[in-house]
């Protein structure tokens, strides 16, 4: 068990290091002069080459790749995300503020996704091939095919412009979260519904179920105690992917709905070549991924100990 845990942690460390190196290298080798971009962002005007050169030295851009990488990664290991190349402010507090907008959005998106997909999948799986099942699958496939930004615009058109029921832009009141969360949640619901539905159907075909029924166990108890855990396995498996969808979706949605948050934070940082900020977001996302996948791995093994077991 300890060996297993260490193995998983080691995997996490490798992924994190790789991500850090890859992002840094991508930013470093991106076309254009970063110092110029920073200068433009800082002064909002065209500046002299002396100023640009000064910024280059200040931001550590004049040093070699490895020197710059070390200058960034070493403080990070101590928990220091550095400060913005543009404003000079520490990255961490701004990052926390951004997260305080994105986390509720992602969470409510997830909640909506689960709240829609679980009952829908159960209803659809009740009579496979029936009209309810077929329409659920059709809607879910359609939902998975529609890009998030398009769905977001559609919802804005309908609820904000046509009906005027909900606000679309910004994040001033709690009501402002409804439309973006709905956009995100429906996307999650689309993929979860399909996975859960096929999980339930597959679980119903397990070879031991007829024998348990013949033992006199009520069908509701069978669904709860035997079908549900088997149906849950594929859902747990794709949860890591769902998380990717949530993060990616949140970034796009924040831009569409003009909401503050990680997405807006990241897009602005990229535009202004604010290296420390971009890297902070990427590292944070990678850390989140690695943690969630680690937890999923452990849940998976608790749910079905045959996985990773020698006797299996």
């Amino acid at each position: 068990m300890i060996q297993l845990f260490l193995g998983l942690v080691l995997r996490a460390v490798v992924v994190l290091t790789g991500t850090a190196l890859a992002t840094f290298s991508l930013l470093w080798h991106a076309p254009g002069d970063p110092a110029l971009a920073i200068a433009l962002a800082r002064f909002n005007a065209v500046v002299s080459t002396e100023v640009v050169d000064q910024i280059r030295v200040e931001a550590g851009l004049d040093a070699g790749f490895w020197t710059a990488f070390k200058a960034w990664i070493l403080p990070l290991l101590g928990g220091d995300f550095g400060s913005s190349s543009v404003t000079g402010r520490a990255v961490w507090p701004d990052l926390v503020t951004a997260m305080s907008y994105t986390a509720p959005l992602a969470l409510s998106g997830l909640l909506i996704g689960v709240a829609v997909s679980v009952p829908l999948a159960i209803l659809a799986a009740r009579r496979p091939g029936g009209w309810l099942d077929r329409s659920a699958v059709a809607v879910a496939s359609l939902g998975a095919a529609i890009p998030t930004y398009w769905l977001g615009l559609l919802l804005i058109l309908l609820f904000a412009v046509q009906l005027g029921w909900l606000p679309a832009m910004g994040a001033r009141t709690p009501v402002h979260i409804i439309l973006p969360a709905l956009t995100l949640g429906l996307g999650v619901a689309a993929s979860l519904t399909r996975i859960l539905r096929s999980g339930i159907l597959e679980a119903r075909g397990q070879p031991f179920l007829p024998a348990i029924r013949r033992r006199g166990v009520a069908s509701r108890a069978i669904e709860r105690a035997h079908v549900a855990p088997h149906a849950a396995i594929p859902v747990v498996t794709v949860f890591g992917l769902e998380l990717a969808f949530l993060l990616e979706g949140a970034v796009i949605i924040e831009v569409i709905f003009a909401r503050p948050g990680l997405g807006t934070f990241l897009v602005t940082a990229i535009e202004t070549r604010d290296f420390p900020k971009v890297q902070a977001v990427v590292i944070l996302a990678a850390l989140l991924f690695v943690t969630v996948n680690l937890v999923i791995d452990l849940i998976y093994r608790a749910l079905d100990p045959r996985i990773g077991s020698r006797d299996a």
């Binding site: 031991f208 024998a211 033992r215 006199g216 009520a218 035997h226 006797d311």
Partner: protein, 227 residues
């Protein structure tokens, strides 16, 4: 309680798998249901168990392989508790202990899941689960074919010993007349969805009437050795 059922039939998508059939089994009787593969033995077994349960009989069914009886995600203890509550019985440690000792699985760890036990022990656990409610009839579908012979023979011997002074009747479904003839007192021969012969074992072996029974009798053992 004597088991008596008539007009039992099964058809699926227009094909008759089991023609109307009558089955009578006395308390404590040992009956073998024998036939070639595809003759409808298992279909009859399932239909019989379902129909008897509807009649209010207490019946238990042990499938061919433990994989068809136990959920790999659930612990043995869970299966046991589930079987007890399905029979509306309160958990009874003494009853469990007695059954486990009778089938020699008292060393098994109930917290483990099925695959933490050997297959032989899994099957004896399934048999023990079937015996919780002291059923009128225990149906065993090919109990030996998924196990090593030594393990299978041991399961059968332990079950025989447990049932010796009890009222539970046993219906053994098998393609192997040798097995059924060796252990059962009465034989029913099945052919193409019908019971074509039903007689005490000695009588059937001495004078099989139908072609199906004759073929089974002719190829009953691999070798018959002098004593």
């Amino acid at each position: 309680m004597t088991i008596s059922i008539s007009g039992l039939s099964v058809s699926r998508s227009g094909r008759t798998l089991l023609h109307p059939t009558t089955v009578n089994i006395e308390p404590g009787e040992r009956v073998g249901l024998v036939g070639a593969s595809g003759s409808g033995k298992s279909t009859l077994g399932h239909a019989l168990v379902d129909a008897l349960r509807r009649q209010g009989h207490s019946v238990a069914h042990v499938p061919q392989s433990p994989d068809e009886a136990l959920d790999p995600l659930r612990s043995m203890g869970f299966h046991w508790a589930e079987a007890e509550s399905a029979l509306d019985l309160a958990p009874d440690v003494a009853r469990q202990k007695a059954l486990f000792e009778a089938l020699r699985i008292d060393g098994g760890d109930l917290r483990k899941r099925p695959w933490g036990w050997s297959r032989g022990m899994q099957q004896r656990f399934v048999i023990a689960m079937g015996l919780i409610g002291t059923p009128d009839l225990l149906v065993m579908d090919e109990p030996t074919s998924a196990l090593d012979p030594v393990v299978a023979a041991r399961s059968m011997d332990l079950l025989d010993r447990y049932l010796a002074d009890r009222q539970t009747a046993l219906l053994l479904i098998t393609h192997d007349l040798g097995l059924a003839a060796r252990r059962m007192s009465r034989l029913m021969v099945m052919h193409e969805g019908r019971i074509v012969e039903d007689a005490p074992t000695a009588a059937l072996l001495a004078a099989p009437g139908t072609a199906a029974a004759k073929a089974l009798c002719l190829h009953r053992n691999w070798l018959a050795l002098p004593c």
